[in-house]
């Protein structure tokens, strides 16, 4: 199910990004279709977060291109980039709620910045978005008063408040208990059907990936090494992907690690 007749929403070409001598992305190529749910899996330090931040324009890649609706965002200046960013919503790993603002002000933050709405109107829309993620009567609480799962849900409400065309989930289930992790993945699925938006998730939670993905891409050492539907990925013959999926301690991933090589 790729939706909307396979229109390419985001196209990433030969993307490179280094921090000092540390090459994080070494030529990422990826296409994401309109309306699909793409999940990028990969180990810690594979460059998933850096890739996300390049897509949304927080980090500037060293070379390569990222096309969003056909526009190469790596060549835009800050003002034009700001316009493109309005197409995106992002759920950060720790929620990244603003500590000094109440829940409804957090959810309505983007609306206040971009649209000329009264406080009453913003509050009304915020409550509506909070209901979408299953929260009632929390509008006036401060982020410090919320549990981890609630924070994530408020952050989710904030990410969808501006009705983005593309939503990015950064480790949506990390740090949550199994039940809450399921609730969040169900919410993501629910939003996918309700809002029909393109989504990119990054995770190392395989079960969540199978559940929410239309397609899965594996990022390894700064490159995409395989892309496919969950079923295709499950039947992969690629030894690196296999080791990652089944969490085996012996295989090409661990062979690459200095620490294991020295021990054996």
């Amino acid at each position: 199910m790729r939706g909307n007749g396979e229109i390419v929403k985001i196209k990433i070409e030969n993307l490179h990004k280094s921090f000092g001598r540390n090459e994080v992305l070494r030529g990422v190529d990826l296409e994401i279709f309109s309306g699909e749910s793409m999940v990028i899996i990969g180990g810690s330090g594979a460059g998933k977060s850096v890739l996300m931040k390049c897509i949304i324009g927080i980090l500037k890649p060293d070379s390569g291109s990222i096309y969003v609706d056909g526009v190469d965002i790596t060549r835009l200046d800050e003002d034009k980039l700001g316009e493109v960013r309005k197409k995106f919503g992002m759920l950060f790993q720790g929620g990244a709620l603003f500590d000094s603002l109440s829940v409804w002000e957090n959810v309505g933050f983007g609306l206040r910045q971009t649209r000329d709405l009264s406080d009453i109107e913003i509050r009304r829309i915020s409550s509506e978005k909070l209901r979408l993620v299953g929260l009632y009567g929390v509008e006036d609480l401060m982020p410090g008063e919320l549990s981890g799962g609630m924070k994530k849900r408020v952050a989710l409400a904030r990410a969808i408040a501006m009705e983005p065309e593309i939503i990015i989930y950064d480790e949506p289930t990390t740090g949550l208990d199994p039940v809450m992790a399921h609730i969040i993945t169900d919410l993501i699925l629910d939003l996918k059907y309700k809002l029909r938006i393109t989504s990119i998730s990054i995770t190392h939670d395989i079960h969540a990936a199978y559940k929410i993905a239309d397609r899965i891409a594996m990022l390894y050492k700064g490159r995409i090494i395989q892309t496919g539907t969950p079923d295709e990925i499950k039947l992969t013959t690629n030894p690196i992907v296999r080791q990652f999926l089944y969490g085996m301690t012996k295989g090409p991933i661990t062979d690459e690690m200095e620490i294991y090589r020295r021990e054996t």
């Binding site: 927080i58 992002m90 950060f92 720790g94 603003f98 910045q113």
Partner: protein
């Protein structure tokens, strides 16, 4: 041999921290330019500016007031014991007023505010940076420099001269109280000599200095906080650096301003 290598490692350590200071200041300078670029661009966050002005002003007032009063008092004591040796006690008021207005008011207030506000700014922005709140601002169509830095920069530049005005006043009053009520010098002489030898320019220079110190504190501290990485430890480091570097910059700029502008 051992002495030689110890000398070299000593020189290396000094050199390394000097290079680090310079590169940090380069970073601060580019940050300053970015802030200027967004200074008068829409949207302007009035609410944030007022909140920061209140924060900086109200939070610093007690500590600045106490520092200034005691500085004025001790200045009177010291100048009395010095001037008595050649019978020039009558000039005490002049010394107290000139020192407070031109030098001690702005510098001491600047140093106290950098400790009080610089650290708070760096810690707050640092926490926002490591918890991705600054990235979140970007994704919510808000420029973090405009939203977070410009209000702090303007607030600190506006409020510091006001604080220094208070400091000057309290310092001179402190000096007067010690001179007249404790050391028993003549009140009229103190006041006439104070007003006779100080000109309005002395006050303006001090306030101008204060404004520059305000810019330094905000820019250095915000830059440190904004670029904080690596969790709680990184925030701690940013906070310490904010205070150390802004204090150093205040002292350096104090000399430059005094030598070349006044």
């Amino acid at each position: 041999m051992a002495n030689g290598s110890r000398l070299i490692s000593g020189v290396t350590a000094v050199g390394a921290s000097f290079i680090q200071f310079c590169s940090e200041m380069g970073c601060v300078f580019t940050f300053f330019i970015k802030t200027l670029k967004y200074l008068f661009r829409r949207p302007f966050y009035w609410r944030n500016l007022l909140k920061q002005m209140e924060e900086i002003g109200v939070r610093s007032l007690p500590v600045v007031a106490i520092t200034a009063t005691f500085t004025g008092m001790v200045l009177a004591l010291q100048s009395y014991s010095g001037f008595r040796r050649f019978g020039a006690e009558s000039l005490m008021g002049t010394v107290v007023a000139l020192s407070m207005l031109r030098e001690l008011g702005p510098v001491f207030s600047g140093l106290m505010v950098s400790g009080r506000i610089g650290s708070a700014m760096a810690a707050e922005l640092g926490t926002m940076a490591v918890t991705e709140q600054i990235d979140a601002l970007v994704t919510l169509a808000t420029n973090p420099i405009q939203y977070l830095i410009v209000p702090r920069f303007l607030a600190s530049t506006i409020v510091l001269p006001i604080l220094v005005l208070f400091a000057d006043l309290l310092g001179i009053i402190g000096g007067y109280v010690v001179a007249v009520y404790i050391l028993g010098t003549n009140a009229t002489v103190f006041i006439t000599n104070t007003t006779k030898y100080t000109v309005l320019k002395d006050l303006y220079f001090g306030l101008l200095k204060a404004a520059v110190f305000g810019m330094i504190i905000a820019t250095v501290s915000c830059c440190q906080g904004f670029n904080a990485t690596e969790g709680a430890e990184g925030v701690g480091r940013a906070t310490t650096r904010a205070v150390v570097y802004s204090s150093l910059m205040i002292l350096i700029f104090d000399y430059i301003l005094t030598a070349y502008l006044f």
